[in-house]
């Protein structure tokens, strides 16, 4: 008997259809534009005011609009910005810079595949930066959440349910330990595949 361990013959992966590709391209162009608008808005507000105070309010509307769009892509980043910064004033400032820098780079790279070599190489630094930014933000928000009992439900109540947002955030932070390495190494593997492919094409030339 011939043996093929694990998965049988590698099936040819079907790429996204024309409609899906169009959607992805448009989606990423819109997201890049949106986050650029927000970044520009931030810079202008800062220049106008001369300080960081009230910076958040100047871009609140477009920020909320584009975050809802981002929900489609990366759930954890939306949860972070929406839930944490919306309610916790003290950490808004710190968050904005880590977060938007990473998002703009990320979305702009999604628009054109020829940027892939750059994208996959930049991520080496961006991923850890983004993750540390997220972790620091959650950590900074913890005392406030505990003090105010934000988003938390206590017993007794008629639904016989409780939720401790503070504990949930700690759990979320801990979950980064197994999740982040998996994501990171997945990207490394993707990078090898994608960049290896590019090298093959240039050889054929």
């Amino acid at each position: 008997m011939k043996t093929t361990h694990g998965d049988v013959a590698a099936r040819k992966k079907k790429g996204p259809g024309a409609l899906a590709t169009a959607y992805l391209v448009i989606y990423n162009v819109v997201m890049t534009a949106g986050w650029l608008v927000i970044a520009v808005g931030l810079v202008r507000a800062y220049l106008a005011r001369g300080s960081y105070h009230g910076l958040y309010y100047s871009i609140e509307k477009p920020l909320k609009f584009f975050q809802t769009g981002a929900l489609l892509e990366v759930l954890s980043r939306v949860f972070l910005t929406w839930a944490v910064t919306h309610s916790v004033r003290e950490v808004r400032r710190r968050l904005l810079f880590y977060f938007h820098f990473e998002i703009i780079i990320g979305y702009s790279f999604n628009t054109s595949s020829w940027l892939n070599p750059l994208r996959y190489t930049f991520f080496f630094a961006l991923y850890p930066m983004g993750v540390s930014g997220e972790l620091l933000t959650i950590y900074a928000a913890l005392p406030h959440v505990q003090k105010t009992g934000l988003y938390s439900v206590t017993l007794p109540n008629k639904y016989n349910f409780s939720f401790d947002y503070h504990g949930f955030l700690i759990l979320a932070m801990v979950s980064y330990i197994p999740l982040f390495p998996q994501l990171y190494f997945h990207m490394i593997r993707q990078r090898k595949k994608v960049l290896g492919h590019v090298e093959d094409y240039s050889k054929v030339e």
């Binding site: 008997m1 011939k2 043996t3 093929t4 361990h5 694990g6 049988v8 013959a9 099936r11 017993l155 007794p156 109540n157 008629k158 639904y159 016989n160 349910f161 409780s162």
Partner: protein, 292 residues
């Protein structure tokens, strides 16, 4: 390439698997998947060699399904957890609630009723696993036991924590609500059991035959007229009853998640029935009459 010699033409795939196992002790038969075509379907243990499109030598493709565990073992383990865990919360074993509540009992009679219902449900499942069900497959992949136990044990602990909590709030509509819930729960337990018995009787002992289930003399099986998998329908009903009885949001979540999973299973089963039987009754829906 591995070779197996001296195979009789009337040997079954099952027998070939045993022969292969002898020369490769790490691959016990339930872990072997054998097919004629690398991308084809797995051959059944009952298939006979000479009835397959092969010559004097046959080439098969082998796939290692990974470590296997018996269905019975998985079911017993995954059901034992909820039974034991719920009772631990019911008796308020230390380190769950505040120390002053250790080993106390709830003052609400619905909490005692809920414990009886929950325990009855899982004892029933355990007994059915041992004495009623006739499984098509002997084994499933080992990793399933971790997945399944996390689901059952996790949800059981989550529900039990609130129902048996010192600050538990009984149902808003009191006795009326609890009585209605209990009737629904018991009705569906009997219904679910009736379906399990009916399905068992379709299949002679030790066989894996598949037949269309039909209503029997038992009125609880008349639902077969409208539904392919009434065991799931009744199961949903029982958990709706338990949700109503306890008025507990985690129970509602558990019911919802279970419903989604059972709907997926029911649709798959319904599709298999339609594919296998030309004369399958057209009036039937997978899980909810006329709806789903």
């Amino acid at each position: 390439m591995h070779h197996v010699h001296g195979v009789e033409p009337n040997a079954t795939i099952g027998e070939i698997k045993s022969m292969f196992h002898k020369s490769h002790p790490q691959w016990y038969p339930t872990r072997q998947s054998i097919r004629l075509d690398a991308k084809g379907k797995s051959l059944k243990d009952e298939d006979v060699l000479q009835h397959l499109p092969v010559g004097t030598t046959a080439t098969f493709y082998f796939r290692d399904l990974g470590a296997q565990i018996s269905w019975v073992t998985v079911f017993l383990t995954e059901y034992m957890g909820p039974l034991v865990l719920y009772l631990m919360f019911y008796f308020r074993v230390p380190f769950i609630y505040a120390a002053k509540y250790d080993f106390t009992t709830s003052k609400h009679w619905v909490v005692h009723l809920a414990c009886m219902c929950h325990s009855f449900h899982f004892v029933k499942r355990l007994l059915e696993t041992l004495f009623v069900h006739r499984f098509s497959h002997g084994t499933m992949p080992l990793r399933n036991i971790f997945k399944n136990c996390t689901y059952y044990w996790g949800f059981a602990a989550w529900m039990a924590y609130y129902i048996n909590h010192p600050l538990y709030t009984p149902p808003i509509y009191g006795e009326q609500q609890i009585r209605l819930a209990l009737v629904l729960f018991l009705f569906c337990q009997i219904g679910n059991f009736s379906i399990h018995i009916a399905l068992r009787n379709l299949r002679p002992p030790g066989s894996k035959t598949r037949k269309i289930p039909y209503p029997t003399k038992n009125p609880f099986t008349w639902i077969f007229l409208l539904v392919s998998c009434p065991n799931y329908t009744y199961e949903l009903g029982a958990w709706l009853g338990f949700t109503l009885m306890t008025q507990c949001l985690p129970v509602a979540f558990f019911t919802l998640v279970g419903f989604i999973q059972m709907t997926v299973w029911a649709k798959g089963k319904h599709r298999s029935y339609l594919k296998e039987f030309r004369d399958y009754p057209p009036l039937r829906s997978p899980i909810l009459p006329f709806i789903l």
